[in-house]
Symmetry: C2
Subunit: 336 residues, 2 copies
């Protein structure tokens, strides 16, 4: 391994001078700087991030937290897109990414300890159980954090505009003449609560009644669970004319339940999803859904986190709401 010591020997200057020359300090002559840099390049010198981190107390490494237990693993479209854009933006700004988890080999630690252990400069909490004491400990610690789709007090967060998304969907469906709209929702997280409230409020604003039996619980990203909820809706005396699913994937579960009942989309039942994953747009019929701005969310999360890391004194917690857009497929039929 080529170190600054090798360069200092080759150039006949001290290690301090090499370090300063490489970092462009002002108290090194232009000639020396040039000579050092050329030698470094010739020897194939690479800085050692570990040594640098130890001395500087900055690792240029940010943690990313994806709950292992909650449904929101890396392999869900929405989260993997967020991960990808967090990664891209962080790398653009000179930071690497490390996953933060509970327990590492024989060491048992919580998220906070793991982040400290790896000297992460900050952590993006992308998907987690926000009631988990370990998550709360991390998010209320001295480590800079940015959460996605949840806000901790005095912390930055990136929020998908669930209120507006749901409102747009309901208004769109309403405009197509639907008055009996059912909503299958995911677990009662804060995201779900926002969507649910927005659903109810928009319906109220539009003068649409929402019978209790039109709102059914299910599990995010679980087609089977949505299938069951769909079955329950179909068993009602007064069937809805349109079903809003908790997410695009869940729609597939509902779809197969509809088919089993001899109903076809959208002729016999209108539907809409949520998320706007690429898949939804290659399905036939193309799914009407609300596309969350996952790429932008990830990018903003990384940007906000690194801003806080690099300018701790002027930093002020921010809540950024990222809007998505309605993807008008052909699963909502006009019954006006």
């Amino acid at each position: 391994m080529v170190t600054i010591t090798d360069i200092s020997k080759a150039c006949g200057v001290s290690r301090a001078t090499v370090s300063k020359a490489l970092n462009g300090a002002s108290d090194v002559s232009p000639e020396t700087t040039k000579r050092v840099r050329e030698t470094a390049a010739a020897l194939g010198y690479l800085p050692n991030a570990t040594a640098r981190a130890l001395k500087m107390g900055r690792s240029y490494n940010v943690g990313v937290l994806f709950s292992d237990t909650t449904g929101g693993g890396i392999s869900h479209e929405y989260f993997s897109r967020i991960l990808e854009s967090v990664k891209a933006e962080a790398e653009r700004l000179g930071y690497d990414i490390t996953f933060i988890s509970k327990d590492l080999g024989r060491l048992s630690m919580d998220y906070y300890e793991h982040a400290k252990y790896r000297s992460c400069d900050g952590v993006v909490i992308a998907s987690a159980d926000f009631q988990d004491p370990a998550v709360i400990r991390l998010a209320t610690s001295e480590i800079p954090t940015v959460t996605l789709d949840y806000s901790f007090d005095s912390r930055s967060s990136i929020l998908s505009d669930n209120v507006r998304g749901m409102e747009e969907l309901v208004r769109f469906v309403h405009a197509k003449g639907h008055r009996k709209i059912a909503f299958i929702h995911g677990e009662l997280t804060s995201v779900t609560q926002k969507r649910l409230a927005s659903f109810r409020r928009t319906c109220a604003e539009l003068g649409i009644p929402v019978p209790a039996e039109y709102v059914r619980p299910a599990v995010y990203h679980d087609p089977r669970s949505s299938g069951l909820a769909t079955r329950a809706l179909l068993a009602l005396e007064e069937r809805p004319t349109c079903i809003l699913f908790p997410d695009d994937l869940s729609y597939l579960g509902g779809m197969s339940e509809l088919e089993r009942n001899g109903l076809s989309v959208p002729k016999d039942m209108s539907v809409a999803g949520y998320d706007g994953i690429p898949l939804s747009q290659v399905l036939r019929p193309r799914l009407t859904t609300y596309q969350q701005g996952a790429e932008q969310m990830g990018k903003e999360a990384a940007r906000l986190l690194i801003e806080q890391i690099e300018k701790p004194d002027t930093w002020i917690p921010q809540q950024i709401t990222v809007e998505g857009r309605l993807l008008e497929g052909s699963t909502v039929i006009d019954i006006g």
Copy 2:
């Protein structure tokens, strides 16, 4: 931050003794060991991975390489499942995961340099352009690597059994009476070549002719491209009775093209996918496909890499082939 120095002061022993006590060295008395450990726990001591890595030349950190440019990004089901299982197994064995990319902020480096810069103990090359000089440099360097779905000389690799997978698919379709089988394949990577060769060989063994126009190129994970290939197949005078798609997602592109032509699956056209992503099994009709053992592949990759890292002297490069299994959906109709 609590360091071993704090513990040594609190216990009245030297830092060396603290370090040894924490690591269970034999030349520390049981009483001292106990006292040191209790003090460490009381003070909330956490080892500093950075300092440890610097001194030991081991970071307990493995890199993961996902090509930024090639189609195989993190957000593809197959790769994200691999990533998730690499992560889980690495963490189980006490290693963290860092993404390796080209260029980091203003530093421009290739994969090898990035891995060195972060002192990765090894790298899992999960998805990459294996002709890229930067990838070749990494895979032929002194850094331990394991590649997925590609073998470098004298290197470990995990291979999905594409030969067998394709053979099983063809034999299954053949058993259902199909004799006019078309194959839409992805870009001509080594994976594709194996599938293609296996397709041809199995057809030959079964005595099925393979007209040149039944083999059509497309792009992996790109429904649009598969749609075009499907269109070309439908334009043939002698239409196939079954189409094998490059992957499950691509099937969706083909499906919509079939529908546009008034053909329904599987009544008018039998189809099969490849990968066995969860989605394929919630579609109606359920897709017949070959499920690759992504979880096992990721797990084996991490295991093999870490084995090489920890036992460099007894290490021998290994090629592990992971078999998948045929998921018999209902998209291949019996026309026997």
